[in-house]
Point group: C3
Chain length 135, copies 3
Amino acid sequence: MIEILQTRTTGKGLHEITREVQAAVRAAGVDDGLCTIMIQHTSASLTIQENADPSARNDLEEWLDRHVPEDDPHFTHTAEGPDDMPSHIKAALTSTTLSIPVVGGRLALGTWQGIYVWEHRSRGSRRRCVVHVGG
Amino acid sequence: MIEILQTRTTGKGLHEITREVQAAVRAAGVDDGLCTIMIQHTSASLTIQENADPSARNDLEEWLDRHVPEDDPHFTHTAEGPDDMPSHIKAALTSTTLSIPVVGGRLALGTWQGIYVWEHRSRGSRRRCVVHVGG
Amino acid sequence: MIEILQTRTTGKGLHEITREVQAAVRAAGVDDGLCTIMIQHTSASLTIQENADPSARNDLEEWLDRHVPEDDPHFTHTAEGPDDMPSHIKAALTSTTLSIPVVGGRLALGTWQGIYVWEHRSRGSRRRCVVHVGG
């Protein structure tokens, strides 16, 4: 089963989609299987991260933002704004696709794991993920 | 087929699990298919790396440790110790899920590739991976 | 269905394989399903990146090359040349496996996404990817 999952981000950082992905798994009616998510963008990415303390996600976002700064004078691909090239680099360093086993109709995530769209553009955007659930 | 793979790490670095994953593939009885591994933690991760010379794995671990140091004064998520926030960042920069084709009942790894749990906590921990093998 | 995809790179940087992967999907005759690619090397990797403006790929390659330089005096794994250890690190920071949903017989990539072998060795090499296409 294939489902398109659309989400609206409002700026840089982690935007949780665990519930939406779990709903797609439920709709697929698969008991034991595999759920794969791909984000159809190169200036946003996916990650599985701690879902408990927001300070961990903030520190993570800020670390990446400090290490891939917008004002790098080496960049030549700057026509779409100063946050564009850092977005592609951040996407390359994180994940575009994730595959999560399904056990008993549920994503087999660890207790503290959540699935996130990681927005790298300053203004956010409408983001599309393709979710595949198989047996 | 789903199998839970438990492993005990003793400190930061790469801990090989190729043999255990191959055993899960064999148990599944799948000839040609796909094996997916997900680690159920956000302070450890997965990687496929060179299995020949241990110096490559040591240099890799030390590079990551120098580039995501524990004493970063920007971190606010510090309640679980100085190695906790670097662990989440290292996990985000490496892999939480891996999918490896199976050919003739064996993981289709390259000659020099091994599958590793990458422990990011100083003391190590008991780590759980979920392995899915499908046709 | 499993297919081996061989490609020849000529130096560091992104080498597009979208067409070859799409051909493997077509040959598999799968309508809705999942395509998984694994590169059988630890000194090259995979990425999904922007396929429009080459300047984005150049900036990406140069950013990674500046941040994982060859002359790092900490490296001990140097027998295979100065570009060997950086190659392993770059591979660990990017992707060894990718899973892309297939919709209507086509890879469900976004408009601006292409699939690339990311060569990290200076001279390039013959590179093998294993492609699995399932229902």
